[in-house]
Amino acid sequence: MTTALNFDPIRLPKECEDLRKEVRAFIKQEIAAGTWDPSAVGRDEAFNYDFSRKVGEKGWIGLTWPKKYGGHERTFLERYVVTEEFRVANAPTRVFFTADRQSGPTLLKYANEDIKMDILPRICRGECCFGIGMSEPGSGSDLFAASTKATKVDGGWLINGSKIWTSNAHRADYLIAIFRTSPPTRENRRHGLTSFLVDMKNTKGITCNPIIQLSGLHEFNEVVFEDAFMPDAHLLGEKDGAWKQATSELAYERSGPERFLETFQVMIELVRVLGEKPDARGAEGLGRLVAQLHTLRRMSVSVNGMLQAGKEPVVEGSVVKDLGTIWEQKLPHKVREIAAFVEPEDTANRVAFEEQLAFATTIAPKLTIQGGTTEVLRGIIAAGLGLRGR
């Protein structure tokens, strides 16, 4: 018996590499057409509906979902390839990213047929943006302290309270949010929260207040609910049982390439700045980063192989996110040190490098907070080691 985790050396099959070629060709063509500039930083064009519709037409949203709902019944590994190529190219995927990664799969599992037939095809066409309403002013890591209340009324529920840090809420068509439908019980403090589909465009009583991040970007918001009405059909899954539904979502959310590639542009610029023949110091720094990146990617591909095999690799996903986010967070700092002795006149690429470095340094703090903090992840891993309850 061993407590160590197993990451089988999954290889991407040929269809993935064929798909990768198609995706790269598409990206190249779109960049050439000026749809976005892969080296631009700190911009809000990530919400690009023209682009997301084109991606939808290509059939690259909802890749793994049933055809009946607009999906393509392809594999998680194919989805992995599309995700990583878009991420590395800095493609403006914000419209569909969250819906494709986690909201769609949640709807597939818990929404009724009418909702699935209505919303999923729109997601697949790149027309429908989702956000996630979990955190509240009094509830972050401690998700089960959420207090925004759902009160039963005829035909549905009235919501009162507020969500915070809600990414995309200012653009989103829908949120998937958790609200309190019952108090927690003495035996189970996680009891009493219920998942709902929130129609952001057609519901009275919802106000979205922007919150500007220290980077200057507007990505997240405060969302205030005042007697906002949710029809019964929008209750997802089991009343009071949102905690049971959260786990499988986490495996999707935590193991993807976006969990170590958010600052990757700065590494590309580092290679440019170092030039073709770096000294030993530069070469060693770069070599270590490449080895670490390769390791993370092999782990992440392996977890996606587990998802494809129908497993729920929650602990493995948490390990990837813990190691991956710490790596991408440290990356700009390491890159800065590695490049310290490279003189500006050595290279024409210094400006681009410094821009990427400043941006990556600015966004670095959030990487180990969003989607579950380092400490929360280590708690999950410790539970996986049998050191504590989940």
Binding site: T2, T3, A4, L5, N6, F7, D8, P9, R11, R20, E84, E85, V88, F264, M267, I268, E269, V271, R272, L274, G275, E276, K277, P278, A280, G282, A283, E284, G285, L286, G287, R288, V290, A291, Q292, L293, H294, T295, L296, R297, R298, M299, S302, E316, V319, D322, L323, E375, L377, R378, G379, I381, A382, G384, L385, G386, L387, R388
Partner: protein
């Protein structure tokens, strides 16, 4: 490559568990455990798994041999099973038959150089060679007048000096001073000292991943037993998080090493594209994990882990020493970084994504 998939791995694990239980070996007053352990490994064909039948081995697959190495790492193998496997593999490159018994190999550092003179004699120095006191034979990669050669020599044909490994364990320095090898053959075209370093680095990476898995087990178990402030230390969040970090280092090491071994097992040649990235990364990342992981495991154990009596050091000393074999992580990183830089920024992502 999970344990249950492979009969070879099961056999190896059974032999080590029966005959080389780390606790027993650590407490033993003499070396009486050594001969039965070695014969069991040898009789089951594990030590020459990478040598074909006609050259005296059992002709198992590369993948099977790698399984044995994982297990050897997990048990901090106190006999030269990995070295003999590698030595047999090296001799096979020159189609030299492998002798029975323990072997070691040289060189194990990228910059150590052994030459074969026109007179057919070996000259040169190899540092950090383990088990030179036990192994009757040494497989040598030497630079001959016309290129790389593989040689089989008696270990005693070299001058053997006992030295301390970085973690305090014994390793040897072998000096060949016009030593006469038993046999010599040309290495295949394209086979060089780098090729040996690449294979050796992958072997040590896999063994390191095995040893990291073991110290994770040992540390988790200990944390559940040791009581401080009226509870088991496993209840302290700081300890839990240390163990979670150790689990992460162990997972990273295992993922990258298993991947490299798998890449080599399914490649036609070690010069195939991508093998270099896999092996170099495995060496670099497992060595980093060894540094981090050993420190965490010791921290969790407190003073007891710092004793001869406790088995922890059997793993951590090997982990730290193995970092230096077949190129240390800094040397590999310089080499990998140099190659990546030469290929240029636009090739960075395609390289990573190609695996």
């Amino acid at each position: 490559m999970s344990d249950s998939d492979s009969i070879v791995a099961e056999t190896a694990a059974r032999i080590f568990a029966d005959l080389a239980d780390p606790q027993t070996v650590n407490a033993a007053k003499d070396q009486a455990w050594k001969a039965p352990l070695w014969s069991a490994l040898e009789e089951n064909g594990l030590t020459l798994a990478w040598v074909p039948d006609d050259l005296g081995g059992t002709g198992a697959s590369l993948a099977d041999g790698f399984e044995v190495i994982s297990v050897a790492g997990r048990f901090a193998a106190p006999v030269p099973v990995m070295e003999t496997l590698l030595a047999g593999w090296l001799l096979t490159q020159g189609r030299i038959a492998s002798p029975a018994g323990m072997m070691t190999l040289a060189p194990m550092r990228p910059k150590d150089r052994i030459t074969l003179g026109g007179d057919g004699m070996l000259t040169g120095r190899a540092r950090g060679i383990p088990f030179a006191g036990d192994a009757a034979h040494v497989a040598v990669l030497a630079h001959g007048p016309k290129g790389a050669v593989v040689a089989l020599a008696e270990t005693k044909s070299a001058r053997i000096a006992e030295t301390r490994g970085i973690a305090g364990n014994t390793v040897f320095e072998l000096t060949f001073d016009k030593a006469k090898p038993l046999q010599v053959a040309d290495a295949p075209a394209g086979f060089s000292q780098e090729t040996l370093m690449l294979m050796g680095a992958t072997v040590r990476s896999l063994a390191s991943a095995g040893a990291l898995a073991a110290i994770l087990d040992i540390s988790v178990r200990y944390a559940g037993e040791r009581v401080a402030f009226e509870k088991t230390i496993s209840k302290f969040q700081a300890v839990q998080h240390n163990l979670a970090r150790l689990a992460g280092e162990s997972a990273a090491a295992s993922a990258v090493a298993t991947s490299a071994a798998d890449a080599i097992s399914s490649a036609v040649t070690l010069a195939a594209p991508g093998i270099y990235l896999e092996a170099a990364s495995a060496r670099i990342r497992t060595a980093e994990a060894a540094t981090e992981g050993s420190a965490i495991a010791h921290q969790v154990h407190g003073a007891i882990g710092y004793t001869k009596e406790h088995i922890l050091h059997r793993y951590t000393q090997r982990l730290l020493t193995w970092r230096d074999d077949f190129g240390n992580e800094s040397q590999w990183a310089v080499d990998l970084g140099t190659k990546v830089a030469a290929a240029g920024a636009d090739e960075l992502w395609p390289l990573v994504a190609s695996r």
